[in-house]
């Protein structure tokens, strides 16, 4: 058997543009699926102004509600933490069983998990959704940290 390599001109030319086209189509298809179809299914929370309005934010279901803890609304009483979440001009009262702890404070964004009972969210889980802003904590202005958080959230 002759195993001598064929001359260059006789060798069939490979169409290397096919993988590029397939990869491009996969990329375009992926972007369309992600941006057009998956958004409603994957969103982690409902904003306060969407409760009972947006699909998936039905008041009969267990909800994850995102909003900012309103300044002056935080009150802790008998192992219960009460506060008001605000977002886009709407507000929602929240009753949390326990002390959220950690970096929870007024003016930070949080996601509260719970059910609506008589228009109030009875929550058993609070997650602090910290912002993408980082500001030095000045030792001389420790008392200002709360208001600094408010200024961060409110922009």
């Amino acid at each position: 058997m002759d195993l001598t390599p064929r001359p260059e001109s006789q060798a069939p030319k490979r169409r290397r543009w096919m993988p590029i086209i397939i990869l491009s189509l996969v990329g375009v298809g992926g972007v369309v699926i992600v941006t057009q179809f998956l958004s409603s299914a994957i969103d982690y929370y409902c904003n306060v102004d969407e409760v009972g309005v947006r699909s998936g934010c039905d008041t009969t279901n267990r909800l994850r509600v995102q909003g900012t803890v309103e300044q002056g609304s935080l009150a802790k009483l008998n192992n219960t933490t009460n506060f008001t979440l605000v977002f886009n001009g709407k507000s929602l009262d929240v009753k949390y069983s326990g002390d959220p702890g950690g970096v929870f404070q007024e003016c930070v964004s949080v996601v509260a998990h719970g059910r609506l009972v008589n228009g109030k969210l009875e929550s058993n889980r609070i997650e602090v959704k910290h912002s993408n802003e980082y500001e030095a904590k000045n030792k001389d202005r420790l008392e200002e940290s709360g208001s600094a958080a408010c200024s961060q959230v409110q922009g």
Partner: protein, 250 residues
Amino acid sequence: MLSQSAPKFSSTGTQATRIVGVLTIVVMTWVVISGLVFTPADVVQGESVRIMYVHVPSAWIAYLAFIVTAITSAFYIFAKRHSLGFDRVAGASAEVGVMFMVITLVTGSLWGRLTWGEFWQWDPRLTTTAFLLVTYIGYLAVRRLDGSIEQRARRSAVIALLAVLEIPLVHFSVVFWRSLHQRATILDPNGDVKMDGLMLFTLFSGVVGFTLVFVWLILHRQRTMLLSDLANQSGLDAAILARQNENVSN
């Protein structure tokens, strides 16, 4: 094909890797000292913000590693000369990328526990990141399937070119969907970086330091892969020679 000649190095270190190694030690020492001592605590997150100096650079370097894997895989597939050197760099980069991705997830979990109050939530950013990690673990598994070195290179190159498409999905998951994870600070589409100056400098130092670690690791790893391939190839050559000798004697 692999070169049949013996490798020209007795270890995986060279003058270049030693220089990179020394630079890595210097930069990383600065990052540790600055991150733990010099940089201030954050006004909201307090001391926990220091995890950022490991978490963010490791995530970026994981992305970089997977992009390098894709680029070198593309060179392997589309270049006229299918150099296995590209394949080895791709494999080495993916291994280092997986390591950095694990560091990202571990440090992110710790940071999440301190700020969100949870180690893990199946929110869009965390879920897509976990998916990215699993994909590249799969890529590394494919590289260990039976077959010739060329088959390994072809299979894994195709996977690398597809897997890299997940990176924009991970990065923009916090833009496409509502996520518990915060949006990007440095790579914010608005270009408005809201970070204390020394925090920002330390973060960039971390990126430089982790990049040096990445370069140092893949330089060594792709050389160990070359030695391993040469060892496998010489074993195959010896087996063929033995079989040929059997035929001659018969």
